[in-house]
């Protein structure tokens, strides 16, 4: 009876799928993070860029011992970038111990237009934790590739036609530079606050 055996095989497959779904469900409910957990699947923090606030070349080593949030954007972005950074700033204000322990690295995807002064002033608007970072096109490409961040810049003498796109990903790294979370700007502030609390808890990031 080939039909019956095929039916049985199908039934087994369905059962297996249901079991897998149930397991995944259990896993998801015991999952402490609200954003996407990327531990083990995303490379450690690594970069080489110029820090806008003091013009120094810095790397991941300069941020050891701090929670690092990595976000890509550009200063001529009047809408999504400042909206995202403002929400982050508000979330940070709600998290005890965030001040002095968290750095938000705002990496420009448009280093040709974003000079260090503009980048510094832009980042400073959101609080002392916010740091503008500018790399050479190569340094930027390396970092973006490492975190699968897409960006494109189409310069035009007419600022109205100058088009920049960038991935909205927000990565979180623990004090040891291990990638932990991937979030997006549409995630709620409560989620951000929740995850920042967990990241700052030494029991979690140790």
């Amino acid at each position: 009876m080939p039909d019956r055996s095929r039916l049985a095989a199908t039934r087994r497959l369905v059962l297996a799928a249901l079991a897998a779904a149930a397991l995944a469900g259990c896993h998801a409910s015991s999952q402490p993070w609200h954003a996407t957990d990327v531990s083990g699947s995303t490379p450690d923090l690594s970069f080489d860029m110029t820090r806008a606030s003091d013009g120094k070349t810095v790397t991941q080593a300069d941020y050891r011992g701090r929670i690092v949030l990595l976000y890509f954007g550009y200063t001529y972005c009047p809408d999504i970038c400042p909206m995202t950074l403002s929400h982050l700033a508000q979330a940070l204000q709600q998290v005890k111990g965030a001040a002095g322990n968290v750095s938000v690295l705002f990496v420009t995807v448009d280093p040709a237009r974003d000079d260090l002064k503009t980048l510094k002033d832009y980042a400073a608007n959101f609080g002392p934790e916010f740091v503008g970072m500018r790399g050479t096109p190569d340094e930027l490409a390396t970092l973006a590739k490492r975190y699968r961040v897409a960006y494109s810049v189409h310069p035009d003498p007419d600022p109205a036609k100058y088009v920049v796109t960038h991935s909205s990903a927000l990565y979180a790294f623990d004090r040891n530079g291990k990638a932990r979370l991937l979030s997006t700007p549409d995630r709620s502030q409560d989620d951000l606050v929740h995850d920042l609390h967990l990241l700052l808890d030494p029991g979690v990031s140790a």
Partner: protein
Amino acid sequence: MRFRIARALPWLLGGLCLGAGVHAGEADHIHVSQAWIRLLPGDLPAGAYATLENDGDQPASLKGASSTRYASVMLHQSSHEGGVNRMAMVDSMAIPAHGRAALAPGGYHLMLMQAAAPVKAGDTVKVMLHFGDGSTLDADFLARPANATDAGTGTEHTH
């Protein structure tokens, strides 16, 4: 003959006025609230936001805006499809009859470029909104710092 036209004139004019009343401009039906501007440092462009409420029986469309304080004002829309942010110029934003539409962070917004003189947080900036039928409406937008959010109280001005 001439006499008869002269006598009819008030009636004709009256008819015209009535017609104008029935087909009032889109702007006459739009109420603007929560109008504010997010300032960025230096010469960087600013984003402007507002809620537009249409109490008319006809849909309205915002086509663009202008301001004496900025060299250029454009209607833009941000999107984040597939996790990628982009911002593009758009031709119009529809405001449904007896409905509302918002220029809000992460969506439709006005991009204000090249301020004639520096605009400071707390300033009120007059922005003229242009609608599909050519009618216009002045609205006062409150300038707020870069880290302002839509949860703020950038209120004022109804038409």
